[in-house]
């Protein structure tokens, strides 16, 4: 009898069964479900379902983050319908405009803990793997069903193991590692499996850096992604959590359908060229590409260390193209203000926006003009993603985005780092 993967253990727990194997079908009862600006549309589905009350309102979270503050009357009406619904249903955890991006806020609030399961109406729910949780994106109808019944059927996925070893060079980040994985294995590589990370690089990563990996695995097509929680995670949660938890770890003899290893010690910064996140080249092959806009933010790279990295490059310098900086949460904004990071960015010419998703998905603010190029710290650069079909988007780390803002073209940040 071989051992179990993380996914098999986590879904056995969520399904209330003693054990589960890849291929098993079970009804999972997640510890938390969440949605965001899409909650009004989910409400309309729920209202058609015949259900009247939430099965477990205390296990439901809603954040307003995707188009905040409301840019149009229609968006404002959308938010108003959500607020009304929150009051009517007694939804346990509601976060207003400006509190931040769902994945960041729910992490900061410690609403999901190691070993737990979270389903969100957002593809980047894989993010919560940074806490050692099982995070899976679902559709709107599925989220309505979760509100109504508290459970959802799923098939326990096969798993893939990704081993990351070595140490990152200065100016190279976990974002570059994530892009390299996509470049090596393609956006088809995940095949809706559980992507379970291991290797001696992981313990060197901070709490701000870790979410980048599982977040980017949404682009890989993973069902979920997982980092083994260690003291960094336990310390992050200690002052925030309100309940106990039991971390889960895959067994040493768990069965992995595919294994992939990467030694990061010689990795250089990476850039995803338009229009797909696996169209990845080393930075040296993208240098000099003109950009009219640079964007630092999102659930991928909008945390304090990301803003600090940008400030490290930009302090005492000036941008020569538009630079938008949108902290992932109000807490990030506050810390960046206190520590002088915001001042350095503003003095360099950055525009600071309301915590939230910003221009990542083209709903509002920072939409590029036709033929304008953007370099972004986000996770996704599909054609039209930022709201304009003929506006190319490059993906890179906050370091590379900041350096590119100085030159108005894709640039190497390492010349600015001491």
């Amino acid at each position: 009898m071989t051992g179990y993967t993380f996914a098999e253990k986590a879904l056995a727990r969520a399904g209330g069964v003693s054990s589960a194997r890849a291929g098993d079908i079970l009804d999972a009862q997640p510890d938390l479900v969440f949605s965001h600006d899409n909650s009004a549309a989910i409400r309309r589905i729920f209202e058609k379902s015949g259900a009247s009350r939430f099965a477990r309102p205390e296990r439901v979270a809603i954040t307003l983050d995707h188009a905040v503050p409301a840019p149009t009357t229609q968006h404002a009406q959308n938010h108003a319908e959500i607020r009304e619904w929150v009051r009517q249903q007694g939804i346990g955890h509601f976060f207003e405009v400006g509190r931040g991006i769902c994945h960041q806020v729910l992490s900061e609030e410690a609403l999901i803990l190691p070993g737990e399961t979270i389903f969100g109406a957002d593809s980047h729910t894989t993010h919560f793997g940074w806490l050692g949780a099982f995070g899976m994106g679902v559709g709107r109808t599925e989220l309505a069903a979760l509100w109504a019944t508290g459970e959802l059927w799923l098939r326990v996925p096969e798993s893939m193991r990704v081993t990351l070893t070595g140490r990152l060079q200065p100016g190279v980040t976990i974002k570059d590692v994530s892009l390299r994985i996509l470049g090596d294995l393609s956006v088809q590589g995940g095949r809706y499996r559980s992507v379970e990370f291991t290797g001696d690089l992981l313990p060197t990563l901070t709490a701000d850096q870790r979410p980048v990996l599982p977040n980017m695995m949404a682009e890989f097509g993973a069902m979920n992604a997982y980092l083994p929680p260690d003291q960094v995670v336990f310390d992050y949660l200690e002052a925030r959590r309100t309940r106990d938890y039991t971390p889960l770890y895959p067994d040493a003899d768990a069965v992995y359908e595919e294994v992939y290893s990467l030694n990061v010690s010689r990795l250089e910064p990476q850039v995803a060229l338009p229009h797909q996140p696996d169209n990845v080249v080393p930075l040296s092959q993208a240098l000099g590409q003109p950009v009219q806009q640079a964007f630092i933010g999102t659930c991928t790279n909008g945390r304090l260390e990301d803003l600090q990295a940008a400030a490290e490059v930009l302090r005492g310098r000036r941008v020569s193209c538009r630079l938008l900086v949108i902290p992932a949460s109000a807490s990030v904004l506050l810390e960046a203000a206190r520590g002088g990071v915001l001042a350095a960015l503003i003095e360099a010419g950055a525009t600071i926006g309301t915590p939230g998703c910003g221009p990542c998905m083209g709903n509002h603010m920072g939409v590029p003009a036709p033929n304008e190029a953007t370099i972004s710290s986000a996770n996704r650069n599909f054609r039209g993603r930022m709201g304009t079909a003929d506006a190319p988007v490059y993906l890179a780390s906050p370091y590379v985005v900041a350096a590119s803002a100085i030159y108005g073209c894709i640039a190497d940040p390492r010349e600015f780092l001491s």
């Binding site: 994106g137 309505a144 809706y192 797909q276 599909f382 039209g384």
Partner: protein, 167 residues
């Protein structure tokens, strides 16, 4: 039953931003409005030309990217009730099932067919008929098939909350 369908053929890795742009996701509500923007950034001819009964025949990883359900409903409201692809994004595949749209995995079709061609589907025999070629339609998991047979996840919920026994 054998049904005949006109196909719209697309390539690999078509993502949900191309199928239904994110900028519309919180404001467009009616089926007609949503259908009008289907495949807007991929094939501007689609929304005006699609007829009820048409099917999409795509390459690998159709519907990768966002979890947005309008990636499926935009096509459904436009009259597409069957989507054939070499493979599907995992979230997209689930959204098809939940919307009562039949997803068929067929690695060969997109390379074989051209937009405007006709294909036939033998539903009971689970066969896809393309000219002289015949492809097996792989079975779905029992749970997925039950939701599809029930018309999608919402009708299943409606029956459950109306007091019918649903297994």
């Amino acid at each position: 039953m054998i049904t005949q369908h006109r196909v719209w053929v697309y390539g690999d890795n078509v993502n949900t931003d191309q199928i239904f742009p994110g900028k519309y996701t919180y404001t467009l509500k009616t089926p007609d409005d949503i259908a009008a923007h289907a495949l807007e950034d991929l094939d501007p001819a689609f929304a005006g030309g699609v007829q009820p009964g048409d099917v999409v025949a795509a390459g690998f990883n159709w519907g990768c990217g966002s979890s947005r359900e309008q990636g499926v409903t935009a096509l459904k409201y436009a009259g597409v009730s069957i989507i054939i692809a070499a493979s599907f994004g995992g979230l997209y595949f689930r959204n098809c099932i939940n919307q009562g749209v039949l997803p068929i995995v067929c690695p060969e079709l997109a390379a074989l067919a051209r937009t405007g061609d006709s294909i036939r589907i033998h539903h009971e025999a689970r066969r896809l008929l393309v000219g002289e070629r015949v492809f097996e339609i792989p079975p779905l998991s029992p749970s997925a098939q039950a939701i599809l047979d029930g018309g999608g996840l919402l009708p299943m919920l409606q029956r459950r909350f109306a007091g019918e026994v649903v297994e």
